[in-house]
């Protein structure tokens, strides 16, 4: 049994620690994901955990164990956010799981939801429309004009799973305070899939042309920055390009991790010290997309 500690704060950046602890892939031993000391997880953390479980299941690996957080409030939140309901499919859960409840917390806009096809995308976008408007206005202090772009970004991020992953994936949307890094509340869209990843998706289109410099990072940049798609249709590649355009207007950030690289696009001065492109990270299955939309500054 290989024990893989889950970071105390699991988010789009600390996934790297989780990936590094996995060791060789496919794993040679049964995996125990140890989250007993985990205090907090972002929506990206939730969907990435499910992607890991899904990837192991699709490999036919022995069912991994997931040791739930010691903190009852953390586990309760994991339940309300919809993680545990789906985690049961992929993990042998250890620890005290809270009774099943619907996501009642106002900061969970979209509990962890499986994305299989276009109908799921329509359902996700349609369901949260009014709540998203209220949350962006009331909790983040944003004007109505931000709402449309939020829905467009959610839709396109989910469609990337349907169009490119070659398998199912996950989406979640939460609002939370990002005081440590930003001093604001943010709305976070997270999607993840256990699919082929950006590099394999674009191999046939770009690998030959880019040659030795072809990598996970180059593939993500081609899609995000240059709007390149594996489809020949010139109208393709709109999704990520549109999200980037929207986020640049509202000082938002998008971060995409796929394989061994992560590329972010966002205002340097606002967010974090992460470089625009990180390569040679520990490998993690599929692709993870994190979109952060900042609220107005919090009055201290």
């Amino acid at each position: 049994m290989r024990v893989v500690p889950v970071p105390s704060h699991l988010d789009d950046q600390t996934i790297d620690q989780l990936a590094a602890s996995l060791g060789a892939w496919p794993p040679e031993e049964r995996i125990l994901l140890d989250a007993h000391a985990t205090e907090w997880a972002s929506p990206t953390g939730f969907v990435a955990l499910l992607t890991l479980g899904q990837a192991l299941a699709e490999l036919g690996a022995p069912q991994p164990r997931l040791a739930l957080p010691d903190s009852a409030s953390v586990t309760s939140y994991w339940g309300k956010a919809g993680l545990l309901q789906h985690a049961e499919q992929y993990f042998e859960l250890h620890g005290k799981a809270p009774p099943r409840k619907r996501a009642e917390q106002s900061d969970v806009l979209l509990p962890v939801t499986m994305i299989r096809d276009a109908a799921d995308v329509m359902e996700v976008v349609g369901q949260i429309g009014k709540r998203a408007t209220a949350m962006l206005r009331d909790q983040l202090g944003l004007e109505a004009s931000v709402v449309g772009g939020f829905g467009q970004s959610l839709s396109e991020a989910c469609q990337n799973i349907v169009e490119h992953a070659g398998t199912t994936g996950w989406a979640a949307v939460h609002a939370y305070s990002y005081r440590r890094r930003l001093g604001r509340k943010v709305l976070v869209i997270a999607t993840s899939d256990a699919g082929v990843g950006f590099r394999r998706s674009l191999d046939a289109t770009l690998a030959k042309r880019i040659g030795d410099r072809w990598s996970d990072g180059a593939a993500i940049e081609s899609a995000l920055i240059q709007g390149i798609s594996r489809f020949r249709d010139p109208g393709r590649g709109q999704g990520l390009a549109g999200i980037k355009r929207y986020l640049s207007r509202w000082q938002g950030k998008i971060s995409i991790r796929s394989g061994t690289a992560r590329v972010k696009f966002g205002p340097e001065w606002t967010w974090d010290e992460e470089p625009p492109r990180s390569e040679h990270l520990a490998w993690f299955p599929g692709s993870q997309v994190t979109i952060l939309i900042p609220g107005k500054e919090i009055d201290e």
Partner: protein, 181 residues
């Protein structure tokens, strides 16, 4: 003559959904095909796509419903494709889709009765379009006088608008946008 096509209605005919959002490529393609079917049955009519009861429009659906429709309708006896009841966020997505393909369309925003151009179009065309919509029907000389341009410059801009099917070019060398529905 015009055919007003309510996209919220077409959406519900094309896809079994309780929602009014134009999202996903599959949805967009299904809606476009239905719109094209309607237009084939109404030769000579402008296509007036009514967005006023549509919820969200994402970038992919804007490409499928508007950009690809403009391309496909060029092979049909449809003089123009015009958009009505467009919200600002719809316009963003549509403009993004049209920009990539070098296309343009005339849209009337939901809270306005003033037509505007969305997409990739030279600045002179935009300026000439504004001048023309203020005047109704005009020749290049009139637009040139109003803008302080040479007549060839005004004519090039107006012909650019007509070739993109954003305005009508008449046999008497005048141009017009026409009435806002």
């Amino acid at each position: 003559m015009s055919s007003v096509i309510r996209l919220d209605v077409v959406l519900r005919e094309a896809v079994a959904t309780p929602y009014s959002d134009l999202v996903t490529r599959q949805t967009g393609a299904a809606v476009r095909n239905r719109v094209l079917m309607v237009l084939r049955d109404r030769p000579g009519h402008d296509a007036h796509l009514d967005f006023s009861a549509v919820g969200l429009v994402d970038f992919s659906c804007a490409d499928e419903v508007v950009a690809k429709l403009i391309v496909a309708s060029a092979d049909l006896p449809v003089p123009r494709v015009l958009l009505y009841g467009v919200r600002a966020d719809h316009a963003d997505a549509i403009e993004h889709a049209l920009d990539r393909l070098g296309l343009a369309v005339v849209a009337v925003l939901i809270d306005s009765d003033h037509p505007l151009l969305l997409g990739a179009i030279p600045e002179d065309c935009r300026t000439a379009f504004d001048a023309l919509t203020e005047r109704g029907r005009a020749a290049a000389e009139s637009i040139a006088n109003a803008l302080g341009w040479t007549v060839p410059r005004a004519l090039e801009a107006l012909e650019g608008l007509a070739s993109r099917r954003c305005v009508l070019a008449h046999a008497d060398a005048t141009f017009e946008f026409g009435a806002v529905a």
